[in-house]
């Protein structure tokens, strides 16, 4: 037996013993997801046990170094763990922007002290993070952001406003882009970390067309932030921001997988014209799934172009919007019910409406295409 076979056998046995049956049920709704954080209320004992067991081994972030709360697994071992979890239908123990976005940026740009302090908290689900990027006047033109951070000697003084801050009202800390210089657009941005409980921080949820409120407006009114809570150098935050966006886009692109099943198998379309469209969609979805697999392997091996998450994000989100369009069409009038039990509280129609944001959040499709044109194709003036 190879070491990897041994690892698989051991992992299978450990998961069998430690993953509670309830945590092997498919996620039915947002309410089943564990986000962690200071104010988190576990939905069940099983949810708490599962997070504690996984975090205890560093397996919420299996590929991070052990020193920072990770599992220290090799890429091959991390894949085995993923496969074994999938085999028994185990839920992800923790959903976290700390894991998917801030963590990779800290691993690359953080100081040793910052890594030792922040990463283990993320790994254990103790601190829930939110992302302060967009502003009312800085959407696609993100580098035009105006939220100001003044150097007051022993602290930064923050004033301004963010928007589209995911779960700002539930988050403990924020990673935030601020303007520390007006001399240069991209070269005047810094990347700060601070506690959302700091005086002067306030949030207001935004009601979406889907009826849910995953985003907030976030206001900073004379917020004092300790000087050492900056990641990377002053005025060099754009490098950190872009790197983090790559990870965010990679994560968002997974929406294209849509849970993995065939839309046609799920909807059994009878109308021949709809069947034809759904078959065309299933071809595209399966082809994208192959791309997603190939991209992940290339990304890990360092063979992927640094701008390729933009290509993936564009393809995955446009695909997810199309999936929802066709699902609504296949469901007919019943798919338009907003509150009935039959429709699981309007799941199809709400997901359809929510999916429209996929090609806006994390950078619009148009911005992703600009990036591909410029950085991958090398087209002039892009």
């Amino acid at each position: 037996m190879t070491d990897l076979d041994t690892f698989r056998t051991d992992t299978r046995a450990w998961l069998e013993a430690n993953c509670p049956p309830e945590m092997r049920q498919p996620i039915r709704s947002e309410a089943d997801i564990c986000w962690g954080g200071r104010n988190w209320t576990f939905k069940s004992d099983a949810q708490r046990q599962w997070l504690e067991a996984m975090a205890g081994r560093g397996w919420t972030v299996a590929h991070w170094p052990k020193d920072y709360g990770g599992g220290g697994l090799s890429p091959a071992e991390a894949i085995v763990l993923k496969e074994e979890m999938k085999r028994i239908g185990a839920r992800s123990p923790l959903m976290s922007f700390g894991i998917s976005m801030l963590g990779p940026a800290l691993l690359k740009f953080g100081t040793e002290e910052q890594k030792k302090h922040y990463l283990p908290q993320i790994a254990r689900g103790e601190i829930r993070w939110c992302q302060g990027y967009s502003e009312p006047g800085a959407g696609s033109d993100l580098a035009g952001l105006q939220t100001k951070a003044e150097d007051k000697g022993d602290h930064w003084l923050i004033n301004g406003q963010k928007v589209w801050t995911s779960y700002a009202d539930k988050a403990d800390w924020i990673f935030c882009l601020v303007r520390t210089s007006t001399e240069s657009k991209q070269g005047g941005i810094s990347f700060l970390l601070f506690d959302m409980a700091t005086p002067g921080v306030s949030t207001k949820p935004i009601l979406l067309i889907s009826g849910s409120s995953p985003f907030c407006e976030t206001f900073f009114d004379d917020v004092k932030v300790p000087k050492d809570q900056i990641v990377g150098d002053v005025n060099r935050g754009w490098d950190v921001a872009k790197y983090l966006l790559g990870h965010e886009r990679e994560m968002i692109s997974e929406l294209g997988l849509g849970g993995g099943g065939s839309l046609g198998a799920a909807t059994k379309p009878q109308d021949p014209l709809l069947r034809a469209e759904i078959a065309a969609f299933d071809v595209d979805a399966l082809a994208f799934a192959a791309m997603s697999e190939r991209f992940a392997a290339m990304w890990k091996a360092g063979e992927a172009h640094p701008a390729s998450p933009s290509m993936m994000k564009y393809a995955g989100t446009e695909l997810n919007k199309r999936r929802n369009e066709l699902a609504i069409a296949a469901g007919g009038s019943e798919a338009l019910e907003w509150e009935s039990e039959r429709s699981k509280n309007g799941k199809p129609v709400r997901e359809w409406l929510r999916s429209k944001g996929n090609s806006i959040e994390g950078g619009t499709s148009e911005i992703q295409l600009n990036i591909v044109a410029k950085h991958i194709l090398g087209l002039p003036g892009a």
Binding site: A301, N370, A373, A382
Partner: protein, 374 residues
Amino acid sequence: MTLLTDDQKMLQETAASFLADEGTPAKQLRHWRDTECDDGFGHALWKQFGELGLTGIAIPEDQGGLGLGATEAALVLEEIGRNLTPSPFLTTGIVAAKAIAGTAHADRWYPPILSGEAVLAVAIDESPRHAPEQTVLEAKRQGNGFVLNGSKQFVVQGASADMIVTAARTSGSSGERSGLTLFAVPRGAAEVENVHLADSSWAARLAFANVELDADAVIGEVDDGWVRLTAGLDAGRAGAAAELVGVAAGASKMTFDYLKQRKQFGKLIGEFQAIQHRAAHLHGEIEIARAAALKAAQLIDSGDERAELYVSVAKAKAADVASLAVREGVQMHGGIGMTDEHDIGLYMKREAVLGELFGDVYYHRNRVAELNGY
């Protein structure tokens, strides 16, 4: 999905440099077209394929071949597509070689295939649209052998072939998968009409009028040819998908280069966002099609039960994307793209023929739907 191994990368480089030197439109496609050669490809180049071992890519090692898989074939075919190289590689080297594998016909034909001397063809279609289940070419037992009546069409390189692997019905009726038998039909047995296609390739229409064959012309089992036929066809479909990815990549490379050269309104046309977004979209689609083609090939090689599904995904997606690549290619080239002098139009014609071969986009979308139970 696994990334390419070092050996696979080496094979890819060998094929790429060989075909970029010897397989270009100027040396092959245009040359054979403009000299009115009714093979449409060069026998000398096929022998060079043989010298490099490429004619035996799918032939087992103990029979003198390289014994490689669909993945390696896909790597070579992507380069063939990129250079629009006309050759018997796909039909002789992949489909026919697979269809006769493990039979006495392999002993007979593998040696001249290995040396690049023999050309084999496969005769499946009997109507303008691919539908192997609907084979009605009749093969009736007579004495010790069979007598064949009916017709075939779109038999790629059929008039150049030394032997044609032919699907015929020995029992049952149109639409049934059982009752099909593969025959090795020697050159001259059927009446041949050599048909020139849009991409300057040649495909035959065959007429069988009481064509008598010995019992040993049967490839595999009588009435039980479906599995063997599908194995050959699926290898061919995965290969055609890879070749289409090459067509798309070659056409788009030519187009993206043009966007960086052509000026209008005092600007390079690649500076216009109306062009940039379409180019970026196309790039992503080609990457996705390549991933699908590689996935299908890898699943064939590992004997995975999802191979059939992914072969159809790959063929449908690659044809779709290659079609987009050639349409955008001609449009973005403007007037020059409409001229025979420029190669971009050759890509458009090749895509059309290759997209049709072994089932078009609609055939394979339908197969994906059926395999998913709807």
